[in-house]
Symmetry: C2
Amino acid sequence: MTFYINHTDLESYVKAIFQKAGLKEDHSATVAKHLVFANLRGVDSHGVTRVKNYIDRLEQGVVNWEHSMSVTKETPSSVFIDGSNELGIIPATEGIKLAVNKAKNTGVAIAGINHSNHCGMLADYTGYAAKHDCVCIATTNAPSYMAPWGGKERYFGTNPISYGIPGGEAGNIVFDMATSIVARGKIKLAIQNHEDIPVGWAITKDGEPTTDAQEAMDGMVLPVGGPKGYGLALLADVLSGLLTGASFGPSVGRPENLDDVQDVGQFFFVIRADIFEEMDTFKKRMDTMAKEMKQIPAAKGFDRVYLPGEIEDEREKERRMSGIPLTKELADELHAVGERYGISPRLRELVLDGMLMS
Amino acid sequence: MTFYINHTDLESYVKAIFQKAGLKEDHSATVAKHLVFANLRGVDSHGVTRVKNYIDRLEQGVVNWEHSMSVTKETPSSVFIDGSNELGIIPATEGIKLAVNKAKNTGVAIAGINHSNHCGMLADYTGYAAKHDCVCIATTNAPSYMAPWGGKERYFGTNPISYGIPGGEAGNIVFDMATSIVARGKIKLAIQNHEDIPVGWAITKDGEPTTDAQEAMDGMVLPVGGPKGYGLALLADVLSGLLTGASFGPSVGRPENLDDVQDVGQFFFVIRADIFEEMDTFKKRMDTMAKEMKQIPAAKGFDRVYLPGEIEDEREKERRMSGIPLTKELADELHAVGERYGISPRLRELVLDGMLMS
């Protein structure tokens, strides 16, 4: 059973929850907007499914609900931020703004953040930079679920890499990938549906290839393209973790452990898109590329060529119209979190099309 | 039949060829050193196998043998270079030096190069930065051999991404990957050996999956991890090509066409590894990571965990001792190029262990 909720209603509801839990109003708005935006783009694993865990961690005191993050070190083209163990979305949103401002001045800038937490969907940050006419690459590290290529112990997270590129008429390109072959969410889904997973997605905790979804979940996912995804996961960990002094490898805390401080790191690299040539020239070239790629006929089994991130862009348009789908389990969970704080209107009153929660 | 040649002999021989063909002595040395270094690391596809093509293009006048590259634009943290259609190794070597120098001063720098040519093995540039205590990411674009995911026309090259990271006692990490699932060299090899290739490596020119190596060669290789490799290939093209004003997509010239100007682009991003914390701290953290990963037991089918680039590091040590292996075809080709210029000693006189060319 799926419930649809208008994204602005959902955003107000989630914002109210964070505010009641003690976050400042503007930060509650930032976190709510970010999570609902992930849902809008169809990245449900990074959307409002995180609300309960974020709230539990704030309540538990393992995440800092006061606003105390600060800039530790600064140069004209770099900013180093102590995230002060706040919800990661807060320092990361601040970090990308500072990096974009610096890049506006100097052409090139980086931001590094330590003592952070899960920062949601990187595409939100790289998309922000693209809107400000900057090319941006973002990485974060994450709790370990992936073995280094050839090994049989978890070491890296599924450390994502995202980029945003400003386009002209054809729009910006915003891309976001995990360095694992598959999101862990897909393995969870296979468990729920009692299905096998393909060979090559995961290994058991003893390092044996498996098609059993539960064995995979207890074991490790594999890096995309074997040594290539492994190399990229390591790069993301170096930029986000080792360079910033945040935790790295298996030392990154797990959010589901309510007494684990995460100490995640984030990294942003921003270039003003007119660093070498005129902005117009760059955007026209982007449009030419987009047009040329869309003229390429589809290979067998495909309907057409999509630009990176285009499927998410289309999902966003659709969900802005039709609302955000929540499973019954997630709707019940969010409803209960709201009830804890007496949020009104209650989640079940927000469900669209007369589809009431059972 | 394989012929082994000492790497210093091979380097002198190749240097002499370029010098006789009209390059300045220092540039001849740079190009020879770069190509032989690729062979030392086992990246034979980017080694002395390129000599004949580079020379043919210089002789044909489609590559500029005069030294006329120049810095077009410069800020404290960026340098924009017109490669002036010289052999790509020359402006790329200059570009990484300038970017590293700027990063030494400002902490962060980029270099962009247009009007360039094939620049060899990116690991040489990122490794240079790592030796100078900088983290570096490098990209180049390349002639189109890869379809965008879902399409059935060549658009992107197998656009590589490389990085270098300075380590402590455990050594630097230098990584270099093509964004295709497999190097075209492996498909060539399958043709030579009359073998099939695995499903998923390539599609025919009509967009159908194929296991026939010749059909694959006439068709397209696929991006690594499907949409992920496609997204990374696009990023490499944007950074190297669109941002710098170099050619991009299928407009990049093919080196095998002796009247095609390539107009390749290159891009380097360099960060001083102590931008946020102390250099010692960073290197100790790198050593910790290397040590932790090497303690991870091997998964089924593997002997141990290798760090990214470690196999190439070991190959380099081995080949510095035992010489660089050349196939008979390549040895004959290089011998003939040397004969064209009357290089002495002749290549066949350099073959180690009394293994004379037939």
